[in-house]
Amino acid sequence: MKSSDMTDRFTQPESVPRHEERFIASEELARLVMRTAGSHLQLARDDRPYQWSTTAYCDTYDWAVFRAAEAGQALRLRFREYHRTRPDEAFTSARLWLEFKEDTVDMSRKERFEIAGDVVPAFLRGETDLTDGASGLGQKAAELVHAGARPVVVTQYNRLAYAASEDQIRVTADHNLIYLAVPWTMNTDDAVPIRIGPILSRETDVVIEMKWFGELPAWAEELHGYLRQRAPADRPSKFVVAMRHLLGEAKKS
């Protein structure tokens, strides 16, 4: 697989810091927040309401990605696909999204590729060249793959998302969030699709995420303040929560 086999490459701005905050909200509060967001923003194109998002996250055998994420900066390597009903297998889609997402203390960058589902093992064998992007994320991802990164946890949820043009502001609500393990053993072509499970944990409340570049408009500032007052913030990312459950470190959550 070469990077030319991939389509729809999209890199988010890297020069502008992106803010990202997560909140755990009750169903009632989440409805209120999303109604407010919906009156100012457009329904997001990728995350149509109540599709199931299935995201498989990769890590190395020494858990380097997780340990870096716990420390606040990591390059996350993940595969995302969408289904109308909840699948019990991952990598079932003909086309899915390969994402490199890098978080540092004050910046977040993401590069996204649409790829064929059946080339995932080849990608994990390192038979690809993603190093030509300007962001340099492809090079870092290649290093992770070389270090043995493979899918280890999966999250599944129904996402409702509203966003401004070019994702200047994005507000998402994730319902029915489930964390699962995935017994990936070898990068052979017949490794996909793979059955996911067991279930590590479920989130009973709703995870709300606000992401934005630059200044927030007044309505969003007000919404953000309202959320901060009523919902626990500083929530770790879904990847970190899932990994804590997987490794028996969930008491930190």
């Binding site: 199931w52 280890v152 029915n176 393990a181 017994p183 499970g197 067991p198 490794l247």
Partner: protein, 437 residues
């Protein structure tokens, strides 16, 4: 109500007593058995215990919401086939889509007309009821004499008659449910839902392609070749049983060796049971579970080739003795290798002490070289060893043993998903004990 029968069991999960009562009466009046749970927790317990034909689920519940209950039902392989209908006063498209996306078959908005409820229940039940193969009598205790037996369960009468005619020279044709008769062959339609069976138990099953369609990898054509193929299928089944018998003999040998050592008596059986439970938790098929079970029972058979004093030694091992003990996986492989039909077990026997990071023995394999079946037996073996009392330490609780294994996962030795499946099983068992179920 054509689809409803007196043996239809329904679980209603509804916190409002008046609504639950009305529903219960209405369904019972239509010949159904009804059990009511007032909370999500009660409902789930009833669903797991009764495995009903249908669940009617309210969205607003005191302890959780119906969506979560539905997700749990649909996430559990033991209950995921049970259809769920939501009953809710929430009529937004938002709520309906959410309910259906959780795996429900239908969503009915309150208040509803009783006739509509019954019509929807009937429709969902009709859809979920699958064609089932004929019930087979328990294999007869008596030894079969003469021709092997066959049941032909084809839906079309003329095709059934033709199949019976073709098979008659080589098989004794019997009817489903024949008392005390062992069945060697079952002939069914291509789309019949015949329960899968573990290992080589039960009859050989042949699926007949639909009229006019060519035979495929999974089906046979209804022509004169059927008798020859049926004969081969039955022989292959018998051969499989012989292999199972050989494995049973080896297992008996290994168990006899283990039973001489009181400190480990029964350990292999516990490891095998635990490994199969983990495999099921990971959704592996019954044939793989059987391989894992036999592999777990035979994994230490190489100990029989080591000096007895060394195997039973309770004192601290010297480096040389440890090296010798670490030969048992390779010795086990050597011992079993001549039994070619057992070749699928060899990776388990040889590699169950390997670690994903390459620090195990005897070959220092790394993760991509260690199959899932081997990883499962390795985790089950370590867990049951920690649960047993040793001369130098008492037995550990299940929770403590899981924590130790999770530390091994963090170090990169054991497979994370396999240990997670073990932990899930242990937690479910603890919950069952706590609720007395």
């Amino acid at each position: 109500m054509s689809g409803m029968q007196s043996d239809t069991n329904v679980v209603v999960v509804e916190d409002d007593p008046a609504s639950a009562d009305v529903l219960q009466r209405r369904l019972q009046a239509n010949g159904m058995s009804v059990s009511v749970g007032r909370t999500g927790g009660d409902g789930l317990a009833l669903i797991r215990e009764l495995h009903p034909d249908l669940v009617l689920l309210d969205v607003g519940l005191p302890d959780t919401d119906g969506y979560d209950v539905c997700l749990q039902v649909k996430s559990d392989s033991a209950t995921s086939d049970i259809p769920v209908i939501f009953l809710s006063a929430r009529g937004d498209v938002f709520d309906k889509v959410r309910g259906l996306s959780c795996g429900a078959s239908d969503y009915l908005t309150k208040p509803f007309h009783p006739a509509e409820l019954l019509a929807r229940v009937d429709a969902v039940l009709s859809q979920s009821r699958r064609v089932r193969g004929p019930r087979l009598a328990k294999p007869a205790d008596s030894v079969r004499a003469g021709k092997p037996t066959a049941i032909v369960a084809l839906g079309d009468a003329s095709r059934k008659e033709r199949a019976e005619l073709i098979l008659a020279p080589r098989f004794e044709i019997i009817t489903a449910g024949a008392e005390g008769r062992a069945v060697d062959l079952l002939v069914v339609d291509a789309d019949a839902n015949v329960a899968s069976q573990m290992g080589n138990e039960g009859p050989a099953v042949l699926r007949v392609a639909v009229a006019g369609a060519p035979a495929s990898a999974d089906t046979v054509a209804l022509n004169d070749e059927l008798a020859r193929i049926a004969d081969l299928a039955v022989r292959e089944r018998e051969l499989g049983r012989d292999v199972d018998a050989a494995a049973d003999a080896l297992i008996a040998l290994a168990m006899a060796f283990e039973s001489h050592d009181r400190s480990t008596a029964g350990h292999s059986e516990r490891v095998a049971n635990r490994a199969v439970a983990i495999a099921k938790g990971l959704g592996l098929d019954s044939a793989t579970c059987q391989t894992i079970r036999v592999g777990a029972l035979l994994r230490d058979i190489g100990n029989t080739k080591l000096p007895l004093g060394l195997v039973r030694s309770r004192s601290e091992l010297t480096a040389a003795e440890r090296k010798q003990i670490e030969q048992h996986p390779a010795l086990g492989q050597e011992l079993l290798a001549p039994f070619r039909p057992l070749s699928r077990l060899l990776p388990i026997v040889r590699s169950h002490h390997e670690h994903l990071d390459g620090s195990g023995y005897p070959d220092g394999l790394k993760a991509p070289q260690i199959p899932l079946e081997v990883r499962i037996v390795a985790v089950a073996d370590r867990f049951e060893a920690l649960r047993a009392a040793r001369a130098d330490r008492p037995a550990m609780s299940a929770d403590a043993a899981v924590q130790i294994l999770q530390q091994s996962v963090q170090k990169g030795e054991l497979d994370a998903a396999v240990v997670a499946a073990l932990a899930t099983g242990v937690r479910a068992h603890d919950r069952g004990e706590a609720t007395g179920s």
